[in-house]
Amino acid sequence: MTKVADRLFRFRGLLATLVSRELKARYRGSVLGFFWSLVTPLLLLGVYTFVFSVVFKPRFPGSDPYVLFLMTGLFPWTWVATSLMEGTNSLTANAGLIRKAVFPAEVLPMVSVLSNLVHFLFAIPILVGGLILGRSLGYPVGGWEAILFPAIVALQLPALGGLTLGLSALNVHFKDVKDIVGNLLALLFYLTPIIYPLGFLKGYKPLLWAIEWLNPFTPFARAYQAVLFHGALPGAQIWIQMVSWAAVLWLVGCWLFGRLSDSLVEAV
């Protein structure tokens, strides 16, 4: 279990090189280059603003302006979804590398997680700009609690990293895993309080309980919404949930990967 973490640390130079290559490769040959990382969330913000303030006017208590509430949960979710999609497939996609050369395979899923983290962080200034704009328009959004944002990211990283590591190793044995993950993510999106605040589900007790306690990303979404949107401190329960999910997913993911890594080269 510690072997995987050790090797990730030992090959941190490789990890950094591959992440920067991944980022560069994504925009290679494009005119705007890195600006796409800013343009995409900006366009999203614009479109959603139009849709949700002119076309639909969803009314969730305590989520006004809705577009900022939505963005606060959507950006971290995009990190989760793209990391899991790319990361689960990362070993199978690089089978040639793993089979033919001495290569630390655990680096590959982590490259997916980290490069998508960078994209997530690129989108944050857009969100912050929106929040500042909203505040100047008189909405009670944002506050000094935003300084806790890095702490939430730091807890989400091991949770997401562990899950991606474990799923990538399983996908080597069952190629179905990546399809299951793709479909589950579409479902999980609605089972995470992103487009609605968790309190909205008060009338559906069993569903509320399941989403609150069984979905690892619920506490993270709630924490982002608290510190960025509501300008509030996440409660102790949310912190405990985040730390527990981070520890459990990281340890289980590393254990699974470590167990399967001895036979990885043959199976991939």
């Binding site: 290559r21 044995h173 036979s263």
Partner: protein, 455 residues
Amino acid sequence: MSVAIRVENLHKSYLRMAPGFRLRTLKSALLQRSLVGGHKEEDTILALEDVSFEVEKGTAFGVIGSNGSGKSTLLKILAGMLQPTEGRVEVSGRVAALIELGAGFHPEISGRENVYINGAVLGLTRKEIDRRYDDIVEFSGLTDFIEEPVKNYSSGMYVRLGFSVAIHTDPEILLVDEVLAVGDEAFQHRCLRRIEEFLAKGNTLLLVSHSLDTIERFSDEVLWLEKGRDRLLGSPRRVADAYRLAVAEREGQAHLAAKEARQKELQGGPGAESGEAPDVDVASGGKSPEGVEAGGSEEPRRWGSGEAEIQGVRLVDSNGEEKYNLESGEEVCFEIDVEAHQELSDFVFGIGVFTPRDVEVWGINTGLSGYASEGLKGKTRVRLVCPALRLAPGEYLIDVAVHARDGYPYDYHRRFLSFSMVSSSRGVGVYFPRYRWEFDEAVRWKPPSQDTEQD
């Protein structure tokens, strides 16, 4: 000498990939950390079976074998990519491996970035790579192409870059599969020099190839793998010859009739049946029974397919008298009696002179001398005349061989006979040239002077 690589009773099984195994395979991978654990024997393929050998530090070890003999599996196990199914593997030292052509390179990105990625995989930090970057590029000879995406590289360029990065990471053990043969002649020379430096520093090379030339050129010891088993382990010359024989035989060129006829005639002659070169104790004059190796693991002293046979070798002086105690600088003739059991058009006669400590003093054959063979029939006596054999005093041994141009041995006698050299003058080494000291007036000597001229 300490051991760099130790392999004991190594077995490696692969799983036959059939549908319906997925769940059992995953279970086995999880619980036993091996894919084959939960499977029946018939569902697995044995890639390596009971292979054992040791490689000493500072030596070059070659592995030959046909396709599918388990060479690459062995290399991947040594590199730590695969786990042995059974047995023990110890590799002590930092390892760099060049497993497959272009493996580890990302085709879409530049050579420069690939150097950094490759270096990082081999365990270097960015700073360490920065420091070696210029050397790496210069050695690879790719200065003009280093910013190009590597997908535009030729296979030779891949190898040059890959080898250059690997050798510049200062590994203690270098594992190389095949790939070196791809580089051009100039690069191979540079590789050879670099590998010699590498070995001289006490590092270890393990080279896998089915190119006998490469193996013979680089290795101190060679292992021949066949169908996953270690068939023969020994000196490059011997293993390569045995391998050539086996290959020729498999290709149906073994001239079966001639061999059978010969085997009847000569019990325990150089039989090609096993390709394993049974020992014949030539020096004692007797022909020992097939397969008996004098001194246990000692190398056989005679091997070959037997189309032509060396029946005797003599050293003769200028008066035509047989003589094995020679004065340095006197005329010597090596007489070799050869009988061809069938008409041959492809043949080379050769002689090698060695010290008792296996230093090759001189080697010559008719091919090197520029003779192109046309025909050989029946018995003949080949004479190699040296008007003045100037060797240092001491004991010498000679190898005599008749083989085909590609090295396929008809009859190879190792250390066939010995002779000794005497000389009234002194010196060290193995060679006594004609020489003369010259001094000007600035140098004075006490009488009586040393022997200042030697003929």
